[in-house]
């Protein structure tokens, strides 16, 4: 991030804003993030820090919102007061906007993340996520979690619009249920991770492509419903009734049930070492 006075181009004034807060007795943190367009990064912060938000944006077009009160952090971008100019410039150079959000490690987190167009990299490694809802529009997004989430989640929910979306380490989410609803675009789920407990995946696809990568050690049972017009390609699973089941289903340490509902599009499941 460039901190010095940024050169202004095409009349746009770029602004860097960093806001951070220390943990002062908080026992949990709820995060409500709304980010329209640009580049988003979310990751673990430093010990002792409750959050750190770093915006880079064109101040003539938009205005940031960072509000914290009683365990609730709201981070958003809204159009600036000059609506006419904001409308003209909101979409300009959106890719140069960025938002970095760092959150407290080892503090139970309830995350509601919504972002529209742009690129997003959400790294939940080292965070204690108690609930997760992620909504993304036309973005290229990656969510990764390289270590098992210490908090058991009841449900992790992902609503994907027209996006290229990938989750790496679904097994580390430590969620009883993972729900993915996708409209158009491409969704890739890497079911690697520690899988502290058995889980369910509910996948609802519209017209997009869904690719599921399943480690061979994981027991998987897949049921497809309402996939009459969808192209389904299942690799390494045996047909069983109206679904499929992995050969190691009975012996696998962890089992994952996958329910798929798809209108059109393609579904592909592959087993990986």
């Amino acid at each position: 991030m460039a901190f010095a006075s940024a050169p202004e181009a095409q009349g746009q004034a770029w602004k860097d804003v960093v806001s951070s807060r220390q943990v002062t007795g908080e026992e949990e943190l709820r995060v409500d993030l709304g980010y329209g367009a640009g580049e988003l990064t979310l990751r673990r912060g430093s010990p002792g820090a409750l959050y750190r938000v770093a915006f880079r944006y064109d101040e003539d077009a938009i205005a940031p919102v960072v509000e914290y009160e009683r365990g609730l952090l709201r981070v958003a971008l809204s159009r600036s007061a000059d609506r006419r100019r904001a409308t003209m410039e909101f979409g300009d150079r959106a890719s140069e906007r960025s938002l970095e959000l760092e959150l407290a490690p080892n503090l139970p987190l309830d995350l509601e993340l919504s972002f529209g167009a742009g690129r997003a990299e959400v790294d939940l490694t080292g965070l204690a996520v108690r609930s997760l809802e992620l909504n993304t529009g036309a973005s290229e997004s990656v969510l990764r979690i390289d270590e098992a989430n210490p908090e058991r989640m009841e449900s992790a929910s992902f609503n994907v619009g027209v996006a290229d979306f990938r989750i790496r380490g679904v097994g580390n989410l430590n969620a009883e249920e993972v729900v993915v609803k996708a409209g158009l675009g491409s969704v890739t789920l890497d079911l690697d991770g520690e899988w502290p407990a058995d889980a369910r995946l509910k996948l609802e696809m519209g017209l997009g492509a869904l690719r599921i990568r399943v480690p061979e050690s994981l027991g998987v049972e897949l049921r497809n419903r309402d996939t009459f017009l969808a192209s389904v390609k299942i690799d390494g699973l045996a047909r069983r009734g109206d679904g499929w089941r992995s050969p190691n289903w009975e012996s696998a340490r962890r089992k994952v049930e996958i329910d798929i509902s798809a209108a059109l599009g393609s579904i592909e499941l592959v087993r990986v070492p």
Binding site: E8, A13, S19, A49, S80
Partner: protein, 511 residues
Amino acid sequence: MRLPNPTAALAASVAAFFLPPTSTARGQQETIVSNDVEISSRTASLHLEFSSGEHLEIAFSDGVAVANGYSVGNYEPGGAADRAWRDLLAAAMPLGNGPLARVLERWQPDGTLSGSEGELLGEVDRVLERAVATANVAGAPSRGPAWNQNRLGGEEERARTLLHFMSRHGQVRATLEGVDFESLELVLGEDRAIPPDASVASSIFAADGTIEVQGRIRGHAIVVDGVIVLEEGGRVDGDVRLVDATLERRGGSLQGRVVDVLREIDGERTARAPHPRDDVVSEATQHRWDGRRPSGVISRVGRAAGGVLEAGVSFMILAFLTLLAMRLAGDRVDAVAQAVEHNPARSAAVGLAGSFLALPLYLLGAVVLAVTIVGIPVLLAWVPLFPVVAAAAAAVGYLATSHHVGRWVANQDIPWLDRVDRHNPTHLKLVGIGALTAPFAVAAVVRAVPVAGWIGGIVQALGTLACVAAVIIGLGAVIITRGGRYPASDYDFAETLDSERWSSAVDEDES
């Protein structure tokens, strides 16, 4: 941190009066709870919040440096002081609490800077030092109470130098306006009593203390973080200017004004500041305007009449087009109507697909024609004619569907529809068009009724849905029959004839 010279130290001591007493109030166990840094081409600011609830905000903006609302100096944007401040903020950006405090504590402005910008950075340095020195942030160097440090010196000459400096900047000027610094009496951190028979020859500046006036002050009385008591018989020839201070009047006389400097500054700042969240206010105002549309009976009736008139005009236009179409190509329109009657589901499916495919087909056709040299002349016709043909197909489809709507309506037991010739396809289409446009007129009327506006909205939505369905089904029938040239053949001949025509023919034969 650079050691302050005596003059600067005294400057800091007086500046401390103008800033919230962060260090003294915070005590020994403090942390920087939150920090905000903003950097743009125009502004570079730092905001700290301490666990005691105290705040420190230093902003360099448009050539003026301000600390907690008070001007501490001017700078040249892009100049050495501006760059030094931005460098400090850049270093502070990734940090919090202890590490941040260490960076702020150890910051040393460029010692080679001289003049007003050097003084400015020195002042900022001292304000920062005072703010973070006694904060018990992890690893921050421990220093004695800043307040005591700030009580270095005390010589009047230095204070005057300080006040001269401060008076050049921003809001402080208002506090010290009209004050003769050469003769100004300074009272710092102690009480001062002016007996009945005594007088102060000029203005008096008191901080962190009480002034008891029984005698006379011939100039202004400026009190910072203290109290001035005007006793019976006491007199102040000038103003009493209060900065976080109070005036107790027990009589006496005051020739000038009582000025609450902080309040005046806040008032000016509020007046200058842009209204917060103008976009939100604007939207709210817009919504309020929408909600406050004229609500009188006359205006409601007017709106209802306007809606009915609009629906009526639409009906007239469609009726004219119906007559024109029936005159020019009645057979084809009827063939399409037959297809609607006998294959409604297929017509709907084809119409839906046609609606979705129309635009891609249009674009694809244009591209194909464009890339082939031979097709370019056709492209010239394709571009304008395709939309016209599509619109005509949709209109004919609408007419065809309205034919059946009209027949259904005519078969209902509606008294004033007995004049309609049920065997006349044109009549039936007109009735159908009337039925399809009627919901919009009804909606306009219902919406004018208090409380029932939402029902009008539903009626209008249903009317819109009906029209869209009519167009889609009719469009499908147009496609199936190739514009009415090829009547659908998968039904019985007797059914292919319009039943009204058939009945009419039978009636004529019988007569």
